[in-house]
Subunit: 319 residues, 2 copies
C-alpha cells in the first residue's frame, strides 16, 4: 500500500523521537517538506547540519505554519505551553499529534488550545533507547513496535486513519486505546520499571562499604541492565512521573507490598515461598519472546559479545 | 603463555556454568579428561550426547576420583552436601573450587569436609545468561568477564595461582577478595537487581485492571529488561537469597527508603528532587561503558534489531 505523503510535517522538538521521525520520513518519503522547532539554538543548528529538517525555526508557531501534520516531540510537561504557542498558527484541517508516555495529562493540557477546525489525535510510540538529542535518532526505531493512539471521543475517523497509516509506514503496528487505560498499562510496562532502575542506581551510589568502582566493575551480574534504563533523559522522566501520578503511586504501593513479602521470606528462610515466586516470574519471559517483543538470544545485558545463537525477530502480534 | 592442562577435571553439576566450563576447556585444551556428575539421569544422558564429559557418574564421589581439579557447579545451598559426599574420594593435592554467587556460606558449608591434603579455593565467575541446563552452555561465556577468588586465610599460593591461570585461559580476569566483602559487593551488583526483577514481574502478574496480555504486548517500554533477569533459574536464586541473607536484607532496607523518598516526591509534585535523582543516576551508566562491562549500543532490551551503531567491546579494566 503506497502512502500518500504529507505536503509539510512540523516536528516540535528534535530529540530521540523527533530526529528518528525525520529519518524514517526521509527514508520512506512520508513528507515533502519537514519544518522543525527547538528552543535550543544548538539543537536547531545541529538539526540543519544533519538534514533533519528543511527549515528550523526559533518559534514553534512559525514551524507549524502550513503544516498538515504537527508532531509534539517535547517532554509531556511542555506540551500544553507548546500547544498554546502554536494555536493561532495551525492550518485548518491539520492533524496535531504527540509522542508522550502519558496521555490523559497531555489531553488535559493540549486540547483547550486546539482550534475546532484542527484534528488532535494523541499518540505514543512504544519505542526508545537510552540516548537523547538530535544525534540519537535512527530510521528503524519504530520498526516492529506498537504505537498507541488515544483519540478523543467524537473525533473524526479520517485523521485517525491517516495517522494510523503514517505509523504503519514507519514500520509500527497501531492500537487504539482509552487514554486512562493507556496510562495504567504504561505505568507497569514502562514507568515503574524506569523508576525502579533510577532508584537502584541511587541506592548503589550511596553505599559506604562497597565502592562505586566495585559496583561498576562487577556490574555484569544484573546491575548494568538497570543502569541502561537509568541513563534515559531525566527531564522526560520527571515529567512522566509528575503527569501520571495516580497510576504510578497505586502501582508503587503494590510493588512495595510484594517486595516486603519477599523480604520477610528471606528473613525467615522461607525457601518455598521464594522458589514459587521466582518460578512464576519465569513464565512471563517466555511469553514476551513468543509475542515478538524481544529475542531469545541469551543475554544478561552483555551486548553483542560472543553469542552465536540464532536471533529470532518477529513482527509484533497478539500474544 | 601456554597453560599446562589438568590431567582430569571433575564437573559436579552440568548446568549453564558447568556446561560452559566444558566447552571452554575443550576449546582451549585445559583438561585431558573431563568427568561429570548430575543427580538427574536425563542430564547425565544429555551431557554425554553433547560430549560435555568423557564419563558421567551417578555418584559425585565416583566423578571426583583421581581428579586434579573439582568444580562444584551446583546451587550454593547444595555445596555442603556435595562436599560431604566427595570428601573421602578426593585425590591428595587436588584443587576443589566452586562457582557460587555467595562465598561466606559456601565456605562455611564446604570447608569442614575438605581433607587437609586438598586445596579449597572458592571462586565466582561473574558471568551468566537467563538460561539453564546442559544445553545452555557456550565456550565464550567467561570471556571479558571478571572471576573473583576468595581464598581462605593461610591457603597455599600455588593452587591459587594455578586456578587463576585456568580462569585467565577461559578469557576472564581474576580478582582476589575477602569472602564477606564479595557477598556485600554482589548483593548490590547482582542479588538485589535480581530480586527486584522477580518482584516487578510478580506485581505485574497480579494486576486486575491491566491484563497480562497487555503487559507482554507493550513490554518494550522497559518492563522486558526485567523479565530477562526474572527468567533465571529459581532454585539457584532461592539458594542465593537464603545464603546471603544479611547483606541482602540490609540493602533492601536502603532500597525501600530511597524508593519511599521518590514516591513522596511524586505524590507532592517535587520535580526538582526527581530531576536531580534521575540526572545523578545517568552518570553511572557512562562509567560502566567506559569500564568495558557493557557496550554503548543503544538498546532498551531490543535485542539486535535495526541498530547499525558501532559496538565497542573492550577487555575489562579498572574503572
Amino acid at each position: 500500500m503506497v502512502f500518500e505523503p504529507f505536503e509539510k510535517v512540523a516536528l516540535i522538538g528534535l530529540g530521540l523521537i523527533g530526529s528518528s521521525l525525520s529519518h524514517v520520513m526521509r527514508r520512506e518519503k512520508l513528507a515533502r517538506t519537514i519544518a522543525g522547532h527547538s528552543r535550543s539554538a544548538e539543537t536547531r543548528d545541529r538539526a540543519l547540519e544533519l538534514g533533519l529538517a528543511d527549515s528550523m525555526h526559533e518559534s514553534a508557531a512559525d514551524a507549524v505554519c502550513d503544516a498538515d501534520l504537527v508532531f509534539l516531540c517535547v517532554p509531556v510537561g511542555a506540551c500544553g505551553a507548546v500547544a498554546e504557542a502554536i494555536s493561532k498558527s495551525l492550518k485548518p484541517g491539520a492533524i496535531v499529534t504527540d509522542v508522550g508516555s502519558v496521555k490523559s495529562a497531555v489531553i488535559r493540557d493540549v486540547s483547550p488550545h486546539i482550534p475546532g477546525n484542527v484534528h488532535f489525535v494523541p499518540g505514543h510510540p512504544i519505542a526508545g533507547t537510552e540516548y537523547s538529542g538530535p544525534d540519537s535518532g535512527f530510521a528503524s526505531l519504530f520498526e516492529n513496535r506498537w504505537c498507541i493512539l488515544t483519540p478523543l471521543a467524537g473525533s473524526d475517523e479520517q485523521p485517525i486513519a491517516r495517522l494510523t497509516a503514517f505509523w504503519q509506514a514507519c514500520g509500527s503496528s497501531v492500537d487504539i486505546m482509552d487514554p486512562d487505560h493507556h496510562d495504567r498499562v504504561l505505568s507497569i510496562t514502562s514507568h515503574l520499571p524506569q523508576l525502579i532502575a533510577f532508584n537502584i542506581v541511587t541506592t548503589a551510589a550511596d553505599l559506604e562499604e562497597v565502592t562505586q568502582r566495585e559496583v561498576i566493575k562487577y556490574s555484569a551480574g544484573g546491575f548494568r541492565d538497570f543502569t541502561r534504563l537509568a541513563a534515559s533523559d531525566p527531564t522526560m522522566w520527571r515529567d512522566v512521573f509528575l503527569n501520571n501520578r495516580k497510576a504510578v503511586l497505586e502501582l508503587l504501593g503494590r510493588f512495595s507490598e510484594d517486595l516486603s513479602a519477599l523480604q520477610r521470606a528471606i528473613r525467615w528462610g522461607d525457601g518455598g515461598m521464594l522458589f514459587d515466586t521466582f518460578d512464576r516470574a519465569r513464565g512471563i519471559r517466555k511469553r514476551i519472546i513468543e509475542a515478538g517483543q524481544d529475542t531469545e538470544k541469551p543475554d544478561f545485558g552483555r551486548g553483542a559479545q560472543g553469542q552465536d545463537q540464532k536471533v529470532m525477530v518477529k513482527r509484533p502480534e497478539e500474544p
